[in-house]
Protein backbone atom coordinates (compact mmCIF):
# COMPACT_ATOMS: atom_id res chain seq x y z
CA UNK A 1 0.00 0.00 0.00
CA UNK A 2 1.16 3.44 -0.90
CA UNK A 3 2.67 5.46 1.93
CA UNK A 4 0.68 8.44 0.76
CA UNK A 5 -2.53 6.58 1.45
CA UNK A 6 -1.61 4.35 4.35
CA UNK A 7 -1.71 7.13 6.91
CA UNK A 8 -5.29 8.00 5.99
CA UNK A 9 -8.50 6.48 7.33
CA UNK A 10 -10.57 4.47 4.82
CA UNK A 11 -13.05 7.30 4.25
CA UNK A 12 -10.27 9.79 3.63
CA UNK A 13 -8.52 7.27 1.42
CA UNK A 14 -11.59 7.25 -0.75
CA UNK A 15 -11.40 11.00 -1.07
CA UNK A 16 -7.69 10.83 -1.77
CA UNK A 17 -8.39 8.35 -4.56
CA UNK A 18 -11.13 10.52 -6.03
CA UNK A 19 -8.82 13.52 -5.86
CA UNK A 20 -6.01 11.57 -7.53
CA UNK A 21 -8.34 10.41 -10.30
CA UNK A 22 -9.61 13.95 -10.83
CA UNK A 23 -6.07 15.36 -11.05
CA UNK A 24 -5.04 12.56 -13.39
CA UNK A 25 -8.02 13.29 -15.60
CA UNK A 26 -7.13 16.99 -15.54
CA UNK A 27 -3.58 16.22 -16.70
CA UNK A 28 -4.86 13.97 -19.49
CA UNK A 29 -7.34 16.62 -20.62
CA UNK A 30 -4.65 19.32 -20.53
CA UNK A 31 -2.42 17.13 -22.66
CA UNK A 32 -5.17 16.41 -25.18
CA UNK A 33 -6.21 20.04 -25.39
CA UNK A 34 -2.61 21.32 -25.54
CA UNK A 35 -3.10 22.91 -29.00
CA UNK A 36 -5.96 25.01 -27.56
CA UNK A 37 -4.56 25.68 -24.09
CA UNK A 38 -0.94 26.44 -24.95
CA UNK A 39 -0.34 30.18 -25.28
CA UNK A 40 2.48 29.69 -27.81
CA UNK A 41 3.90 27.25 -30.32
CA UNK A 42 6.11 24.96 -28.16
CA UNK A 43 8.89 24.95 -30.74
CA UNK A 44 8.83 28.63 -31.67
CA UNK A 45 12.34 29.99 -31.08
CA UNK A 46 12.42 33.63 -30.03
CA UNK A 47 15.85 34.85 -28.94
CA UNK A 48 14.48 38.26 -28.06
CA UNK A 49 12.67 36.67 -25.10
CA UNK A 50 15.12 33.98 -24.01
CA UNK A 51 15.38 33.01 -20.34
CA UNK A 52 12.64 35.40 -19.29
CA UNK A 53 10.85 35.00 -15.95
CA UNK A 54 7.11 34.42 -15.64
CA UNK A 55 4.99 37.15 -17.16
CA UNK A 56 1.43 37.56 -18.39
CA UNK A 57 2.61 36.63 -21.86
CA UNK A 58 4.70 33.64 -20.72
CA UNK A 59 3.05 32.26 -17.52
CA UNK A 60 6.05 30.06 -16.66
CA UNK A 61 8.66 32.07 -18.49
CA UNK A 62 10.84 30.99 -21.42
CA UNK A 63 13.82 28.70 -21.91
CA UNK A 64 17.27 29.36 -23.33
CA UNK A 65 15.84 29.52 -26.86
CA UNK A 66 12.95 31.76 -25.88
CA UNK A 67 10.36 28.98 -26.13
CA UNK A 68 7.30 29.12 -23.88
CA UNK A 69 7.88 26.76 -20.94
CA UNK A 70 4.16 26.22 -20.20
CA UNK A 71 3.43 25.33 -23.82
CA UNK A 72 6.29 22.84 -23.84
CA UNK A 73 5.06 21.25 -20.62
CA UNK A 74 1.56 20.90 -22.04
CA UNK A 75 2.77 19.35 -25.27
CA UNK A 76 5.19 17.21 -23.28
CA UNK A 77 2.18 15.62 -21.53
CA UNK A 78 1.05 14.28 -24.89
CA UNK A 79 4.46 12.79 -25.57
CA UNK A 80 5.00 11.21 -22.14
CA UNK A 81 1.49 9.82 -21.65
CA UNK A 82 1.03 8.89 -25.30
CA UNK A 83 4.32 7.02 -25.53
CA UNK A 84 3.72 5.33 -22.17
CA UNK A 85 0.25 4.16 -23.23
CA UNK A 86 1.59 2.95 -26.57
CA UNK A 87 4.37 0.98 -24.89
CA UNK A 88 2.22 -0.47 -22.12
CA UNK A 89 -0.61 -1.51 -24.44
CA UNK A 90 1.83 -3.14 -26.86
CA UNK A 91 3.40 -5.00 -23.94
CA UNK A 92 -0.04 -6.03 -22.75
CA UNK A 93 -1.07 -7.50 -26.11
CA UNK A 94 2.28 -9.23 -26.73
CA UNK A 95 2.58 -10.42 -23.14
CA UNK A 96 -0.94 -11.86 -23.21
CA UNK A 97 -0.23 -13.73 -26.43
CA UNK A 98 3.15 -15.09 -25.37
CA UNK A 99 2.12 -15.86 -21.80
CA UNK A 100 -1.06 -17.57 -22.94
CA UNK A 101 0.84 -19.65 -25.48
CA UNK A 102 3.39 -20.76 -22.88
CA UNK A 103 0.90 -21.37 -20.10
CA UNK A 104 -1.74 -23.09 -22.17
CA UNK A 105 0.51 -25.24 -24.33
CA UNK A 106 2.82 -26.19 -21.46
CA UNK A 107 5.61 -28.73 -21.95
CA UNK A 108 8.43 -27.92 -24.32
CA UNK A 109 6.83 -24.72 -25.71
CA UNK A 110 6.52 -23.40 -22.18
CA UNK A 111 10.12 -24.27 -21.35
CA UNK A 112 11.51 -22.63 -24.50
CA UNK A 113 9.50 -19.43 -24.15
CA UNK A 114 10.26 -19.10 -20.47
CA UNK A 115 14.00 -19.70 -20.88
CA UNK A 116 14.05 -17.00 -23.58
CA UNK A 117 12.30 -14.68 -21.13
CA UNK A 118 14.79 -15.57 -18.41
CA UNK A 119 17.63 -14.66 -20.74
CA UNK A 120 16.16 -11.18 -21.21
CA UNK A 121 15.36 -10.86 -17.52
CA UNK A 122 18.97 -11.61 -16.65
CA UNK A 123 19.85 -8.05 -17.70
CA UNK A 124 18.68 -4.98 -15.82
CA UNK A 125 15.88 -3.78 -18.09
CA UNK A 126 17.01 -0.19 -18.55
CA UNK A 127 20.59 -1.25 -19.34
CA UNK A 128 19.31 -3.70 -21.92
CA UNK A 129 17.10 -1.00 -23.45
CA UNK A 130 20.12 1.33 -23.63
CA UNK A 131 22.22 -1.28 -25.39
CA UNK A 132 19.44 -1.95 -27.90
CA UNK A 133 19.19 1.78 -28.61
CA UNK A 134 22.96 1.90 -28.92
CA UNK A 135 22.67 -0.58 -31.78
CA UNK A 136 19.69 1.05 -33.49
CA UNK A 137 20.51 4.70 -32.86
CA UNK A 138 18.73 7.23 -30.66
CA UNK A 139 15.14 8.29 -31.30
CA UNK A 140 11.70 7.88 -29.80
CA UNK A 141 10.73 5.00 -32.10
CA UNK A 142 13.81 2.98 -31.24
CA UNK A 143 13.27 3.76 -27.57
CA UNK A 144 9.65 2.59 -27.76
CA UNK A 145 10.62 -0.71 -29.39
CA UNK A 146 13.47 -1.28 -26.94
CA UNK A 147 11.20 -0.63 -23.96
CA UNK A 148 8.47 -2.88 -25.39
CA UNK A 149 10.97 -5.72 -25.77
CA UNK A 150 12.35 -5.49 -22.26
CA UNK A 151 8.95 -4.92 -20.61
CA UNK A 152 6.92 -7.56 -22.47
CA UNK A 153 8.91 -10.25 -20.72
CA UNK A 154 7.45 -9.29 -17.33
CA UNK A 155 3.92 -9.36 -18.73
CA UNK A 156 4.50 -12.71 -20.40
CA UNK A 157 5.75 -14.27 -17.18
CA UNK A 158 2.90 -12.81 -15.19
CA UNK A 159 0.26 -13.98 -17.67
CA UNK A 160 1.83 -17.42 -17.90
CA UNK A 161 1.66 -17.82 -14.14
CA UNK A 162 -1.99 -16.77 -14.07
CA UNK A 163 -2.87 -19.07 -16.97
CA UNK A 164 -1.18 -21.97 -15.22
CA UNK A 165 -3.27 -21.35 -12.12
CA UNK A 166 -6.47 -20.85 -14.09
CA UNK A 167 -5.86 -23.93 -16.20
CA UNK A 168 -6.30 -26.11 -13.14
CA UNK A 169 -9.67 -24.63 -12.23
CA UNK A 170 -12.40 -27.23 -12.51
CA UNK A 171 -14.49 -25.01 -14.74
CA UNK A 172 -11.72 -24.92 -17.33
CA UNK A 173 -11.63 -28.73 -17.31
CA UNK A 174 -15.43 -28.77 -17.54
CA UNK A 175 -15.31 -26.38 -20.52
CA UNK A 176 -12.78 -28.62 -22.26
CA UNK A 177 -15.03 -31.59 -21.75
CA UNK A 178 -17.96 -29.69 -23.23
CA UNK A 179 -15.93 -29.18 -26.39
CA UNK A 180 -14.78 -25.58 -26.03
CA UNK A 181 -12.04 -24.76 -28.52
CA UNK A 182 -8.74 -23.23 -27.35
CA UNK A 183 -9.69 -19.89 -28.92
CA UNK A 184 -13.02 -19.72 -27.11
CA UNK A 185 -11.35 -20.96 -23.96
CA UNK A 186 -9.08 -17.94 -24.15
CA UNK A 187 -11.74 -15.39 -25.03
CA UNK A 188 -14.47 -16.60 -22.69
CA UNK A 189 -12.73 -18.15 -19.71
CA UNK A 190 -9.09 -17.16 -19.48
CA UNK A 191 -8.88 -13.53 -20.60
CA UNK A 192 -11.93 -12.27 -18.65
CA UNK A 193 -10.38 -13.75 -15.53
CA UNK A 194 -6.89 -12.49 -16.33
CA UNK A 195 -7.80 -8.88 -17.03
CA UNK A 196 -8.55 -7.61 -13.51
CA UNK A 197 -5.14 -8.60 -12.04
CA UNK A 198 -3.43 -7.46 -15.25
CA UNK A 199 -5.05 -4.04 -15.11
CA UNK A 200 -3.57 -3.52 -11.66
CA UNK A 201 -0.13 -4.22 -13.05
CA UNK A 202 -0.75 -1.94 -15.99
CA UNK A 203 -1.89 1.00 -13.89
CA UNK A 204 1.32 0.77 -11.85
CA UNK A 205 3.45 0.09 -14.88
CA UNK A 206 2.43 3.26 -16.75
CA UNK A 207 4.16 5.32 -14.07
CA UNK A 208 7.35 3.29 -14.36
CA UNK A 209 7.36 3.54 -18.14
CA UNK A 210 6.99 7.33 -17.92
CA UNK A 211 10.07 7.35 -15.68
CA UNK A 212 11.95 5.18 -18.17
CA UNK A 213 10.99 7.41 -21.08
CA UNK A 214 12.12 10.49 -19.17
CA UNK A 215 15.35 8.83 -18.09
CA UNK A 216 16.25 7.72 -21.60
CA UNK A 217 15.32 11.09 -23.05
CA UNK A 218 17.35 12.83 -20.35
CA UNK A 219 20.50 11.02 -21.43
CA UNK A 220 19.64 11.82 -25.04
CA UNK A 221 18.66 8.33 -26.20
CA UNK A 222 14.91 8.80 -26.45
CA UNK A 223 12.88 11.75 -27.60
CA UNK A 224 15.10 14.13 -29.59
CA UNK A 225 15.14 17.93 -29.66
CA UNK A 226 13.21 19.95 -30.52
CA UNK A 227 10.26 17.70 -29.55
CA UNK A 228 8.98 18.71 -26.12
CA UNK A 229 9.38 15.87 -23.61
CA UNK A 230 9.88 16.28 -19.87
CA UNK A 231 13.04 14.22 -19.54
CA UNK A 232 14.57 15.93 -22.57
CA UNK A 233 13.54 19.33 -21.13
CA UNK A 234 15.33 18.58 -17.88
CA UNK A 235 18.40 17.71 -19.91
CA UNK A 236 18.25 20.95 -21.88
CA UNK A 237 17.72 22.97 -18.71
CA UNK A 238 20.59 21.44 -16.76
CA UNK A 239 23.12 24.00 -18.01
CA UNK A 240 21.03 26.71 -16.37
CA UNK A 241 20.45 24.99 -13.03
CA UNK A 242 22.11 27.78 -11.05
CA UNK A 243 20.71 30.78 -12.88
CA UNK A 244 17.30 29.47 -13.93
CA UNK A 245 16.38 26.34 -11.90
CA UNK A 246 12.71 26.49 -12.97
CA UNK A 247 13.76 25.07 -16.37
CA UNK A 248 14.52 21.80 -14.56
CA UNK A 249 12.07 22.03 -11.69
CA UNK A 250 8.95 22.47 -13.82
CA UNK A 251 9.29 19.31 -15.95
CA UNK A 252 10.66 17.40 -12.94
CA UNK A 253 7.60 18.34 -10.93
CA UNK A 254 5.33 17.18 -13.75
CA UNK A 255 7.01 13.76 -13.83
CA UNK A 256 6.80 13.49 -10.05
CA UNK A 257 3.13 14.48 -9.87
CA UNK A 258 2.02 12.23 -12.74
CA UNK A 259 3.90 9.15 -11.49
CA UNK A 260 2.70 9.69 -7.90
CA UNK A 261 -0.90 9.98 -9.05
CA UNK A 262 -0.63 6.84 -11.17
CA UNK A 263 0.83 4.95 -8.20
CA UNK A 264 -1.95 6.06 -5.88
CA UNK A 265 -4.60 4.98 -8.39
CA UNK A 266 -2.82 1.72 -9.20
CA UNK A 267 -2.54 0.76 -5.55
CA UNK A 268 -6.18 1.56 -4.92
CA UNK A 269 -7.26 -0.55 -7.89
CA UNK A 270 -5.12 -3.40 -6.55
CA UNK A 271 -6.77 -3.22 -3.18
CA UNK A 272 -10.29 -3.12 -4.55
CA UNK A 273 -9.58 -6.07 -6.81
CA UNK A 274 -8.53 -8.35 -3.94
CA UNK A 275 -12.10 -9.20 -2.96
CA UNK A 276 -13.25 -10.59 -6.28
CA UNK A 277 -10.11 -12.32 -7.46
CA UNK A 278 -10.81 -15.33 -9.64
CA UNK A 279 -7.59 -16.92 -8.48
CA UNK A 280 -8.62 -16.94 -4.88
CA UNK A 281 -8.40 -20.49 -3.61
CA UNK A 282 -11.80 -22.04 -3.12
CA UNK A 283 -12.32 -24.12 -0.02
CA UNK A 284 -12.88 -27.38 -1.81
CA UNK A 285 -11.43 -28.83 -4.95
CA UNK A 286 -12.87 -31.64 -6.98
CA UNK A 287 -11.23 -35.03 -7.00
CA UNK A 288 -10.18 -34.69 -10.62
CA UNK A 289 -8.71 -31.31 -9.90
CA UNK A 290 -6.48 -32.72 -7.20
CA UNK A 291 -5.17 -35.18 -9.73
CA UNK A 292 -4.43 -32.33 -12.11
CA UNK A 293 -2.56 -30.52 -9.37
CA UNK A 294 -0.60 -33.60 -8.53
CA UNK A 295 0.38 -34.02 -12.14
CA UNK A 296 1.62 -30.48 -12.42
CA UNK A 297 3.59 -30.60 -9.22
CA UNK A 298 5.27 -33.76 -10.41
CA UNK A 299 6.22 -32.11 -13.67
CA UNK A 300 8.03 -29.31 -11.92
Amino acid sequence: MNVLLRVLSPARRRWALILALALLLAIVVCGLLAPYLAPHDPNLVDFAHKLEGPSSDYPLGTDQLGRCLLSRLLYGTQVSLGLALLIVSSCLVLGLAIGFLAGYAGGIVDSLVMRACDAILAFPSLILAISLIAVWGAGWKQMAVALIIVQTVYYARFVRGLVNQLKQQTYIVAARVSGTSPFRMMSRHIVPNLLPPLLVVVSLEIGWVIMDISALSFVGLGVQAPMAEWGAMINEGKSFIRSHPRLMIAPGAMIFILVALLNVVGDAVGERKGAGSPLRKKAKTSGLLETANKEVSHER
Binding site: V177, N193, T291, H298, E299
Partner: protein, 258 residues
Protein backbone atom coordinates in the same frame (compact mmCIF):
# COMPACT_ATOMS: atom_id res chain seq x y z
CA UNK B 1 -21.41 -53.80 -28.36
CA UNK B 2 -20.45 -52.43 -24.99
CA UNK B 3 -20.43 -48.65 -24.61
CA UNK B 4 -17.10 -48.33 -22.86
CA UNK B 5 -14.41 -50.95 -22.56
CA UNK B 6 -11.24 -50.51 -20.54
CA UNK B 7 -8.52 -53.06 -21.16
CA UNK B 8 -5.54 -53.39 -18.89
CA UNK B 9 -5.16 -49.66 -18.19
CA UNK B 10 -2.06 -48.46 -16.37
CA UNK B 11 -0.89 -45.01 -15.39
CA UNK B 12 2.19 -44.14 -13.40
CA UNK B 13 3.01 -40.72 -12.07
CA UNK B 14 6.64 -39.89 -12.02
CA UNK B 15 8.68 -36.89 -11.10
CA UNK B 16 10.95 -35.54 -13.76
CA UNK B 17 13.15 -32.51 -14.01
CA UNK B 18 16.32 -31.27 -15.59
CA UNK B 19 18.44 -31.91 -12.58
CA UNK B 20 16.61 -34.86 -11.11
CA UNK B 21 16.84 -38.47 -11.94
CA UNK B 22 13.54 -39.93 -13.00
CA UNK B 23 12.04 -41.75 -10.09
CA UNK B 24 8.88 -43.78 -10.01
CA UNK B 25 6.32 -42.28 -7.68
CA UNK B 26 4.01 -45.25 -7.59
CA UNK B 27 1.26 -46.13 -9.99
CA UNK B 28 -2.16 -44.52 -9.83
CA UNK B 29 -3.79 -47.18 -11.98
CA UNK B 30 -2.47 -50.60 -12.80
CA UNK B 31 -3.84 -53.31 -15.01
CA UNK B 32 -7.43 -52.11 -14.74
CA UNK B 33 -10.18 -53.56 -16.93
CA UNK B 34 -13.94 -53.11 -16.96
CA UNK B 35 -16.91 -52.97 -19.29
CA UNK B 36 -19.79 -50.53 -19.18
CA UNK B 37 -22.95 -51.57 -21.00
CA UNK B 38 -25.15 -48.99 -22.70
CA UNK B 39 -27.95 -47.63 -20.52
CA UNK B 40 -26.44 -48.83 -17.26
CA UNK B 41 -24.56 -47.24 -14.42
CA UNK B 42 -21.23 -48.64 -13.31
CA UNK B 43 -20.24 -47.56 -9.83
CA UNK B 44 -16.55 -47.34 -9.08
CA UNK B 45 -16.28 -47.54 -5.33
CA UNK B 46 -13.00 -46.75 -3.70
CA UNK B 47 -11.34 -44.98 -0.84
CA UNK B 48 -9.24 -41.85 -1.16
CA UNK B 49 -6.10 -42.44 -3.15
CA UNK B 50 -7.38 -45.57 -4.81
CA UNK B 51 -7.07 -43.95 -8.25
CA UNK B 52 -10.72 -43.02 -8.79
CA UNK B 53 -10.08 -39.54 -10.14
CA UNK B 54 -7.25 -40.66 -12.40
CA UNK B 55 -9.64 -43.17 -13.92
CA UNK B 56 -12.25 -40.42 -14.36
CA UNK B 57 -9.83 -38.17 -16.21
CA UNK B 58 -8.82 -41.03 -18.50
CA UNK B 59 -12.41 -41.78 -19.44
CA UNK B 60 -12.98 -38.08 -20.16
CA UNK B 61 -10.15 -38.12 -22.66
CA UNK B 62 -7.97 -35.78 -20.62
CA UNK B 63 -5.24 -38.14 -19.46
CA UNK B 64 -3.74 -40.77 -21.76
CA UNK B 65 -2.98 -44.06 -20.04
CA UNK B 66 0.61 -45.32 -20.15
CA UNK B 67 -0.58 -48.73 -21.17
CA UNK B 68 -3.85 -50.35 -22.15
CA UNK B 69 -6.78 -49.35 -24.30
CA UNK B 70 -9.98 -47.43 -23.72
CA UNK B 71 -12.64 -47.89 -26.38
CA UNK B 72 -15.88 -45.96 -26.54
CA UNK B 73 -18.43 -47.58 -28.88
CA UNK B 74 -15.61 -49.44 -30.55
CA UNK B 75 -13.50 -46.31 -31.08
CA UNK B 76 -10.15 -45.87 -29.36
CA UNK B 77 -10.19 -42.83 -27.05
CA UNK B 78 -6.45 -42.33 -27.47
CA UNK B 79 -5.65 -43.27 -31.06
CA UNK B 80 -2.02 -43.44 -32.03
CA UNK B 81 -0.59 -41.12 -34.63
CA UNK B 82 -2.28 -38.09 -36.10
CA UNK B 83 -4.84 -36.37 -33.94
CA UNK B 84 -8.20 -36.24 -35.59
CA UNK B 85 -11.32 -34.43 -34.46
CA UNK B 86 -12.65 -36.51 -31.66
CA UNK B 87 -16.10 -37.64 -32.63
CA UNK B 88 -16.82 -38.95 -29.15
CA UNK B 89 -16.08 -35.63 -27.45
CA UNK B 90 -19.72 -34.56 -27.23
CA UNK B 91 -20.89 -38.00 -26.17
CA UNK B 92 -18.90 -38.11 -22.92
CA UNK B 93 -19.74 -35.41 -20.39
CA UNK B 94 -18.95 -34.86 -16.73
CA UNK B 95 -20.34 -33.70 -13.38
CA UNK B 96 -17.72 -32.74 -10.80
CA UNK B 97 -17.84 -32.88 -7.04
CA UNK B 98 -17.47 -29.21 -6.18
CA UNK B 99 -20.31 -27.47 -7.96
CA UNK B 100 -18.96 -23.98 -7.22
CA UNK B 101 -15.57 -24.38 -8.81
CA UNK B 102 -17.02 -26.25 -11.80
CA UNK B 103 -18.63 -23.08 -13.16
CA UNK B 104 -17.03 -19.84 -14.28
CA UNK B 105 -18.10 -17.30 -11.62
CA UNK B 106 -18.31 -14.53 -14.21
CA UNK B 107 -20.91 -16.22 -16.37
CA UNK B 108 -24.68 -16.38 -15.96
CA UNK B 109 -26.44 -19.72 -15.55
CA UNK B 110 -27.71 -19.38 -19.11
CA UNK B 111 -24.19 -18.88 -20.44
CA UNK B 112 -22.94 -21.83 -18.43
CA UNK B 113 -25.57 -24.25 -19.68
CA UNK B 114 -25.46 -23.01 -23.25
CA UNK B 115 -21.68 -23.36 -23.57
CA UNK B 116 -21.72 -26.97 -24.85
CA UNK B 117 -24.69 -26.13 -27.10
CA UNK B 118 -22.78 -23.27 -28.70
CA UNK B 119 -19.80 -25.51 -29.24
CA UNK B 120 -21.73 -28.07 -31.23
CA UNK B 121 -25.08 -26.72 -32.33
CA UNK B 122 -26.14 -23.63 -34.19
CA UNK B 123 -29.16 -22.30 -32.40
CA UNK B 124 -30.80 -18.93 -32.61
CA UNK B 125 -30.93 -16.93 -29.40
CA UNK B 126 -34.57 -17.84 -29.00
CA UNK B 127 -34.04 -21.57 -29.50
CA UNK B 128 -31.13 -21.49 -27.10
CA UNK B 129 -33.27 -19.75 -24.49
CA UNK B 130 -35.93 -22.39 -24.85
CA UNK B 131 -33.43 -25.25 -24.65
CA UNK B 132 -31.82 -23.83 -21.52
CA UNK B 133 -35.25 -23.33 -19.92
CA UNK B 134 -36.18 -26.95 -20.69
CA UNK B 135 -32.90 -28.21 -19.27
CA UNK B 136 -33.36 -26.18 -16.09
CA UNK B 137 -36.85 -27.61 -15.60
CA UNK B 138 -35.54 -31.12 -16.22
CA UNK B 139 -33.19 -30.82 -13.27
CA UNK B 140 -35.82 -29.23 -11.03
CA UNK B 141 -34.92 -25.56 -11.35
CA UNK B 142 -37.02 -22.65 -12.62
CA UNK B 143 -36.52 -21.22 -16.11
CA UNK B 144 -35.98 -17.79 -14.57
CA UNK B 145 -32.87 -19.09 -12.82
CA UNK B 146 -30.96 -18.73 -16.09
CA UNK B 147 -30.54 -15.02 -15.34
CA UNK B 148 -28.76 -15.67 -12.07
CA UNK B 149 -25.05 -15.94 -11.44
CA UNK B 150 -23.35 -18.80 -9.56
CA UNK B 151 -22.88 -16.65 -6.47
CA UNK B 152 -26.65 -16.33 -6.14
CA UNK B 153 -27.24 -20.08 -5.95
CA UNK B 154 -26.76 -22.78 -3.35
CA UNK B 155 -24.41 -25.72 -3.79
CA UNK B 156 -27.26 -28.08 -4.53
CA UNK B 157 -28.81 -25.74 -7.08
CA UNK B 158 -25.46 -25.29 -8.79
CA UNK B 159 -24.97 -29.04 -8.94
CA UNK B 160 -28.29 -29.20 -10.80
CA UNK B 161 -26.92 -26.58 -13.19
CA UNK B 162 -23.86 -28.75 -13.71
CA UNK B 163 -26.08 -31.72 -14.47
CA UNK B 164 -28.12 -29.61 -16.91
CA UNK B 165 -24.89 -28.64 -18.68
CA UNK B 166 -23.79 -32.27 -18.80
CA UNK B 167 -27.04 -33.48 -20.41
CA UNK B 168 -27.38 -30.48 -22.76
CA UNK B 169 -25.76 -32.33 -25.66
CA UNK B 170 -27.70 -35.56 -24.96
CA UNK B 171 -24.48 -37.48 -24.41
CA UNK B 172 -24.21 -41.25 -24.25
CA UNK B 173 -22.05 -41.35 -21.13
CA UNK B 174 -21.73 -39.07 -18.13
CA UNK B 175 -18.83 -39.39 -15.74
CA UNK B 176 -20.09 -38.54 -12.26
CA UNK B 177 -17.08 -37.71 -10.13
CA UNK B 178 -18.34 -37.70 -6.54
CA UNK B 179 -21.47 -35.82 -7.67
CA UNK B 180 -23.13 -35.56 -4.27
CA UNK B 181 -20.26 -35.73 -1.80
CA UNK B 182 -20.22 -32.02 -1.00
CA UNK B 183 -23.98 -31.72 -0.46
CA UNK B 184 -26.12 -32.30 2.58
CA UNK B 185 -28.13 -35.52 2.94
CA UNK B 186 -31.51 -34.21 1.75
CA UNK B 187 -30.06 -32.49 -1.31
CA UNK B 188 -27.98 -35.59 -2.02
CA UNK B 189 -31.13 -37.64 -2.20
CA UNK B 190 -32.86 -35.20 -4.53
CA UNK B 191 -29.89 -35.04 -6.88
CA UNK B 192 -29.51 -38.82 -6.97
CA UNK B 193 -33.22 -39.12 -7.67
CA UNK B 194 -32.92 -36.71 -10.60
CA UNK B 195 -29.90 -38.53 -11.95
CA UNK B 196 -31.76 -41.83 -11.88
CA UNK B 197 -34.81 -40.31 -13.57
CA UNK B 198 -32.66 -38.74 -16.31
CA UNK B 199 -30.92 -42.05 -16.90
CA UNK B 200 -34.24 -43.81 -17.44
CA UNK B 201 -35.63 -41.02 -19.60
CA UNK B 202 -32.73 -40.64 -22.01
CA UNK B 203 -31.11 -44.05 -21.75
CA UNK B 204 -27.97 -42.44 -20.37
CA UNK B 205 -25.04 -44.44 -19.07
CA UNK B 206 -23.14 -43.34 -16.01
CA UNK B 207 -19.70 -43.99 -14.69
CA UNK B 208 -20.23 -43.13 -11.03
CA UNK B 209 -16.99 -42.56 -9.17
CA UNK B 210 -17.55 -42.34 -5.44
CA UNK B 211 -16.57 -43.39 -1.98
CA UNK B 212 -20.19 -43.15 -0.90
CA UNK B 213 -21.57 -46.68 -0.47
CA UNK B 214 -25.20 -45.58 -0.30
CA UNK B 215 -25.01 -43.31 -3.36
CA UNK B 216 -23.44 -46.10 -5.38
CA UNK B 217 -26.02 -48.60 -4.17
CA UNK B 218 -28.85 -46.24 -5.12
CA UNK B 219 -27.68 -45.32 -8.61
CA UNK B 220 -25.44 -48.09 -9.89
CA UNK B 221 -26.39 -51.32 -11.63
CA UNK B 222 -22.95 -52.86 -11.29
CA UNK B 223 -20.39 -51.97 -8.67
CA UNK B 224 -16.63 -52.31 -9.04
CA UNK B 225 -14.36 -51.99 -6.07
CA UNK B 226 -11.18 -50.04 -6.74
CA UNK B 227 -8.24 -50.62 -4.47
CA UNK B 228 -4.69 -49.40 -4.98
CA UNK B 229 -5.31 -48.63 -8.64
CA UNK B 230 -6.90 -51.87 -9.64
CA UNK B 231 -10.36 -53.41 -9.56
CA UNK B 232 -10.50 -56.13 -6.95
CA UNK B 233 -14.17 -57.13 -7.09
CA UNK B 234 -17.17 -56.50 -9.34
CA UNK B 235 -20.72 -57.35 -8.32
CA UNK B 236 -24.32 -56.43 -9.13
CA UNK B 237 -25.47 -53.49 -7.02
CA UNK B 238 -28.25 -55.61 -5.55
CA UNK B 239 -25.71 -58.12 -4.29
CA UNK B 240 -23.35 -55.48 -3.00
CA UNK B 241 -24.15 -56.09 0.63
CA UNK B 242 -23.63 -59.81 0.33
CA UNK B 243 -20.14 -59.41 -1.09
CA UNK B 244 -17.54 -61.05 1.01
CA UNK B 245 -14.64 -58.79 0.03
CA UNK B 246 -13.02 -57.35 3.17
CA UNK B 247 -12.65 -53.80 1.77
CA UNK B 248 -16.31 -53.83 0.77
CA UNK B 249 -17.23 -54.87 4.27
CA UNK B 250 -15.00 -52.23 5.83
CA UNK B 251 -16.47 -49.44 3.71
CA UNK B 252 -20.00 -50.54 4.50
CA UNK B 253 -19.25 -50.73 8.16
CA UNK B 254 -17.78 -47.24 8.07
CA UNK B 255 -20.92 -45.99 6.32
CA UNK B 256 -23.01 -47.59 9.09
CA UNK B 257 -24.81 -50.03 6.81
CA UNK B 258 -23.93 -53.03 8.88
Amino acid sequence: MSLLVAERLSKTYHASGWFRRQTAEGSAISNLSFTLEEGTCLGILGESGAGKSTLGRMVLGLLPPDEGRLTFRGEDLYPKGRRTRRSWRRDIQVVFQDSYSAVNPRMTIRQIISEPLRNYERQSAQEERRTVAELLELVGLAADDMLKRPSQMSGGQLQRVNIARAIALKPKLIVLDEPVSSLDMIVQKQILHHLRALKEKYGLSYLLISHDVMAVHYLADRVALLEKGTLVDTVDASEMFESGHPTFRAMMQAAGVE
